[in-house]
Symmetry: C2
Subunit: 432 residues, 2 copies
């Protein structure tokens, strides 16, 4: 299928082609109230302004609900459900199509173009959702295996439960920030000498600050408490996907995490990309994830095993001296469990989900060093320095380091479905 | 100090004496919109109606903020800060005092009494807060020790970190329900034979459904991301306290929790009592918690170590046959860490808290069997049945069991500061 052409100028190679239409929350210096927009090429289409100027005049189904575009989060739009997201996305695509059936809406309406089409570089993006609960899974099997070997040796690298259920834990919703927000290095308790028999912690800035390359999926449908979401219906509960960097303090984690799991090591900041790529836009890029060689229980069995995504992922590290290095290239296929499986498992006890809840995939790594989504893996927990350009190297992150995750589906430069970037820069720890 | 007397009829032994004035959210059959109230004796004072009828005419500081009483949660009232909670509570006490300086407000205003004073048995209570994030700690040292002995033996019963930091994990905010809400037994993965070498789980209703007797503390003050709350300021961030039952699926937990901690075992329901007892009301009942024989880091050191509460706690189990047995009697002193310490540790990395966040204490147990706050401890993980009245016994909870936690401070029957009850009844699991 040749890609849809647009009358609007979309640069070749843009993540936000007409095939994409990701949703986000924006504001501008002259209109500071956050509201809903989509990204297209180098621009955002302000959907509040678009709706107020009869932009949706040819889409009657959305008209009773247009107030959702004036909200400061995507929660209300998401709650309208997958069929409505689909209709709205397709309508916006048709408005931008070269041969749009509605030229008067935007193509020939230069007044509305001027009001509603805003250069991305002139807008501010905000957290796309009011996130009620955030859950982080551990579905990146290569990551789980590599870390398991590091801490327990190859025989017990994966725990006995790993291939039977999507291991996960509840994260801290309040610490999630939108791409671009600086991340302050945390202070906390660390063990200066972990192998000593007597364990006496010190108070210190984190010395093993790390990244975790992940995907995040937003929930769009509530299930009542006590009522699980069957695997066949789980996709209807998934709104869309973002890039995620689950910043991690490895030394704080190593000391605190027994027996209840990671806590302070993970609650100082989690960055997500600003534009949520709808599940519909990712549909053509569905693929099989990692093979599970274990017989799984029926409630987790999917009819269609092509439920992972073929997303090319990349991590860049730019040091304070300005050198930029690509430290990771991998693919989102590297997951043992799909988002529908994570969601169904999450609700099997009757746990209620709400629109705006976020599910993290867990760190996505391939098997070779340059495909690993954390410095913990690449540096073998500090044993081997990761080489950067300009002769620099890293064990873990240093102050001033800026980490940028990018992700994109497809190869046709006129039809990319990309996520833009998820970026964060490390600020020095507070002094005590 | 002799207790404050009231012109209003408050039954002797009421948890809601004039010394208390706990806050909650109520609705009535004729006025279904949830709003703020306080409990006094057998009644609730509807603060929306009270405010609308000049009830706060003699308290000018609250007047610009009276809209908080029309909210469906205590979040906005809580966000006004500790000094305002104190002023409002004291004013309401003075309105109910025998020798009130404001008799015209309520004492001699029978019209307003009729409108605003509602019998508790005629109202419905709701979840008191819109809970952003929920964190559950593990500060009940006797519980941690007993469970540690059970799973690891007495030598390593407490992990090396236990006395250095308040161990905790992020919980599931969406699954918190108000007292009285039924709890459905969860389904999930359990190991039919945990000691077998080959670990193959089955899908089953939870067979080890348990209670956890806890306190919960609500946060009233936000700290910005990256900015910890010093221990000396932590009390200013604590609104008040509720009883909590953190229902737990022990068999699901045993299989799933390695290596990231409890997840589905804890996200199907957590019950809290409806009336939040303000930190101010608990001030006279402050006491030392369990002694920590370990030198703790300065950021956790409190000036005043009387930062736990002397609350008499009790758990009753009523079976489907109608027999009711007191299975636990203990005291909230049985905590190694105070709420200010938990809060400060939580934020030391810069984790942002918000008004309405909930901190759970962890299971509160004494050292003898009848003082233990979970059936896991009392039955030694199923080895010994817990004797109930009427010849019944329990290992873990059965369908139809109703568990009621009560808690009260003080002994003067005219000046009790109590929490009412936190009750939940087990419904059968969904059939698959």
């Amino acid at each position: 299928m040749s890609p849809l052409k647009s009358w609007f100028s979309i640069p070749r190679g843009s993540h936000f082609s007409i095939a994409n239409i990701p949703f986000g929350i924006i504001s501008t210096p002259t209109s500071k109230t956050p509201r809903v927009a989509i990204a297209i090429g180098d621009h955002a289409l302000d959907l509040e302004v678009f709706a107020a100027n009869n932009g949706f005049s040819a889409l009657s189904t959305i008209q009773p609900h247009q107030a959702v575009f004036s909200q400061p989060s995507l929660n209300s739009f998401a709650a309208l459900g997958r069929p409505m997201h689909s209709v709205v996305r397709k309508y916006i695509q048709s408005v931008f199509a070269q041969d749009t059936p509605y030229p008067e809406v935007l193509k020939t309406n230069s007044a509305l173009q001027k009001k509603a089409l805003l250069p991305l570089k002139e807008i501010q993006t905000h957290l796309p959702f009011r996130i009620g609960d955030y859950t982080d899974f551990f579905a990146g099997m290569n990551h789980a295996y590599t870390c398991g070997v590091m801490f327990r040796g190859p025989t017990n690298a994966l725990q006995p439960n790993y291939k039977h259920l999507p291991v996960g834990y509840h994260g801290r919703a309040s610490s999630i920030v939108v791409s671009g927000t600086p991340i302050r290095r945390p202070n906390g308790q660390i063990l200066p000498n972990p192998t000593a028999e007597k364990k006496v912690p010190i108070f210190s800035p984190c010395k093993k600050l790390d990244i975790e390359l992940e995907l995040g999926a937003f929930v769009c449908k509530a299930n009542p408490q006590g009522v699980p979401v069957p695997i066949g219906e789980a996709e209807e509960s998934l709104f869309g996907v973002v890039l995620m960097n689950d910043w991690s303090a490895r030394d704080i984690q190593a000391w605190e995490y027994v027996p209840l799991g990671p806590f302070n090591a993970k609650n100082f900041g989690t960055s997500i990309s600003a534009w949520v790529v709808l599940a519909d836009a990712l549909e053509p890029f569905k693929t099989e994830g990692l093979e599970n060689d274990t017989e799984i229980l029926p409630y987790l069995q999917e009819k269609d095993t092509k439920s992972s995504y073929d997303i090319q992922l990349q991590v860049e590290l730019k040091t304070q001296s300005g050198n930029s290095s690509t430290i990771t290239k991998t693919n989102a296929r590297n997951l043992l469990w799909s988002f529908p499986q994570m969601l169904t498992h999450h609700t099997i006890t009757g746990c209620p989900l709400q629109p705006g809840d976020l599910l993290g995939s867990g760190t996505i790594s391939g098997t070779s060093n340059s495909e690993m989504g954390s410095l913990l893996e690449q540096s073998e927990n500090g044993k081997t320095a990761v080489k950067l350009s300009g002769g620099e190297e890293r064990i873990f992150l240093e102050d001033g380091d800026e980490v940028t995750i990018t992700g994109v589906c497809g190869s046709d430069e006129e039809a990319l479905v990309g996520f833009g970037e998820c970026v964060g820069r490390i600020e020095p720890a507070l002094e005590f």
